[in-house]
Amino acid sequence: MKTHSIIIAILFFSISITGQNKGLEVAKKADAADLGFESSSVSLTMVLTNRNGQKSTRQMKTKTLELSEDGDKSLITFESPRDVKGTATLTFTHKVGADDQWLFLPSISRVKRISSNNKSGPFMGSEFAYEDLSSQEVEKYTYKFVEDKDGLIIVEQDPVDPKSGYTRRLVSYNKEKGYRIEKVEFYDRKNSLLKTLIYKDYKTYLDKHWRANIMTMTNHQTNKKTELTFSDYKFKLGLTDEDFSQNALKRAGK
């Protein structure tokens, strides 16, 4: 009897280890499949829809610098609403520890270092939290393989950072299409389904980089929705660290 339970326990333990390894493996494959874009830029439009169907729009431009030894660097410039036009943010993502973030306020030409502590808060009043939009580094989650069904691999990702707004995310990877993500389900701190993110209208760039042109985030608890539309993707722009300095942040915002 005792030996049986020990064997069962060992069995479960090894299964869960395999589950972790397999999940991590998928995340690493997905990460590796997208390596090598060096730098990119894209324009995006964010349409917020409240529960009465009223819409409001934000437009921004993002530049990203791919780094392998540490997380990516990114620069976001806001185009609209017009009262925030010229506001820009510079983020240095770190694989381990808090990200570094600066905000440029054009009205007084001030660059302000801000805390990256706020992970779960809404980005520009949208259904996207800051953590949904930051660079997705493999090290930021622990993984559990869930299932492999019709070419879709579902992996549970648990955020390492206790300040995350989620207990877990269920991510569907498309194995056939360079491990691109098709869907993410977000579970809140009480472990109930909070949001679903659907990736649509994928295109490949430079023969290997899959980018969705439309991402729709639906909040099931508030019935609000945010749709992101990407346009004018560009890769291998020859950008360097100098294009992601505080001087570059001031140049971008105006």
Partner: protein, 399 residues
């Protein structure tokens, strides 16, 4: 004065524009216009005769940007024009008009520009490059465009900035009808200069700034005509004022740790007549996404010290600042800042309220309130303002 600056810089700009024409590939133009309808109301009767209570006003801010060479070369223009029932507040300024070129690690800017240095919220000690647009705002955050040549070089050990400032901009002071004024109305041309070169004293400034790990540090030095005039009050209440030649060293440091921002700014200023030591130090803590409401609540506290004592022009000589900033992070970006500055030695207090909210997609509403409370007789500057509590409402339209 404005005429000289405009001609001088237009000349430089045209030369530069033409010389750069061969590299031009894709030129991006962008024009923006901001209109503001403002109303200020002072609820107590003025301390001095002729002071008004109601100040309706209109503001116009056109902006034009031109960029090419993938954004590495640009020309930025920001103009500003205000029409106010107070004619001293009716003014025009070129906030920015400069050409900039970035290449690898260096950046060069030529023209009228606005530079901001510093980290604290209640007082801006190290920020010295631009003259304050005194009539435009109470908090001194609005600045006049400063003619300059700025050279910036970024290295692994920080950014080095060198400024050549060939021309000085005079501060504009409140007039007869205006509130927030001294008993004697100061005309900007009444203030004399220590230097015989007057506005044409050639000023220079240097700054080293570096961001590493949780630290953001800046060390700066300025030599030239002080942006703040020195006032002498005689027994009869007469004021004489002049702009001294100063040497000012500044330090600003912010440590960003989790939800804490620790801040310090300090200056040491010397001139023939006085040495000034001042610092502002404090912290900011943010409770983000409180109870999953999306609302951020920040608490701010700062201590302000200035060894000029009650002669400090900004009246912040030994004071404590406390405030709370609430960002609703809603679709309309509603934000609120409530706070106060209390003198440690006497009863003087200034309470503040600032709020803003977007309306639709191209309007914004702003509210500001300042309340002067129990101003002590010992305050040379603030006693003049004790009846000048006010509120302001502004509606902005963006095109």
């Amino acid at each position: 004065m404005n005429k000289y600056i405009i001609t001088f810089f237009l000349l430089i700009l045209t030369t530069l524009l033409f010389s750069q024409e061969k590299d031009e590939k894709k030129v991006i133009h962008d024009f923006q216009l901001e209109l503001e309808a403002e109303y200020r109301y002072f609820f107590d009767e003025g301390k001095f005769a002729d002071q008004s209570a109601h100040f309706p006003s209109l503001g116009i801010k056109p902006k034009y940007n031109l960029e090419w060479n993938k954004g590495r070369e640009l020309v930025n223009f920001t103009g500003f024009f205000r029409i106010d029932s107070d004619d001293k507040r009716t003014h025009f300024d070129i906030r920015e008009l400069y050409y900039q070129k970035a290449k690898g690690k260096y950046e060069l800017s030529i023209g009228l520009k606005k530079i901001y240095w510093g980290v604290t919220e209640s007082n801006h000690l190290v920020d010295i490059i631009n003259q304050t647009d005194q009539v435009e705002s109470f908090d001194g955050e609005k600045k006049l465009g400063q003619p300059m040549i700025q050279y910036s070089y970024t290295t692994n050990v920080g950014t080095f900035d060198l400024f050549y400032l060939p021309f000085f901009r005079k501060r504009i002071f409140a007039g007869d009808k205006s509130r927030l004024r001294f008993p004697i109305v100061i005309d900007k041309n009444d203030i004399v200069f220590e230097s015989d070169a007057e506005e044409w004293h050639q000023d220079i400034a240097f700054r080293w700034s570096h961001s590493f790990s949780i630290f953001d540090i800046g060390i700066s030095n300025f030599y030239g005509t002080g942006r703040e005039p020195i006032f002498n009050f005689d027994q009869l209440g007469n004021i004489t004022a002049f702009y001294p030649i100063i040497n000012q060293s500044g330090l600003d440091l912010q440590i960003t740790h989790d939800a804490f921002l620790w801040k310090i700014e300090s200056i040491y200023r010397t001139n023939t007549f006085q040495d000034v030591f001042a610092f502002t130090a404090g912290l900011e803590y943010t409770f983000s996404n409180v109870k999953n409401s999306g609302i951020d609540i920040s608490l701010l506290g700062e201590y302000l010290y200035d060894d000029r004592d009650e002669f400090a022009l900004n009246a912040l000589q030994n004071d404590v600042f406390f405030a709370s900033r609430i960002s609703f992070n809603d679709v309309q970006s509603t934000a609120l800042l409530i706070g106060g500055i209390c003198d440690v030695n006497n009863s003087s207090k200034i309470f503040s309220l600032e709020a803003s909210r977007r309306i639709g997609s191209s309007f914004k509403l702003e509210l500001e309130g300042r309340l002067f409370s129990n101003i002590s007789d010992r305050e040379f500057v603030l006693t003049n303002f004790e009846n000048d509590s006010f509120f302001r409402i502004s509606l902005f339209k963006y095109f």
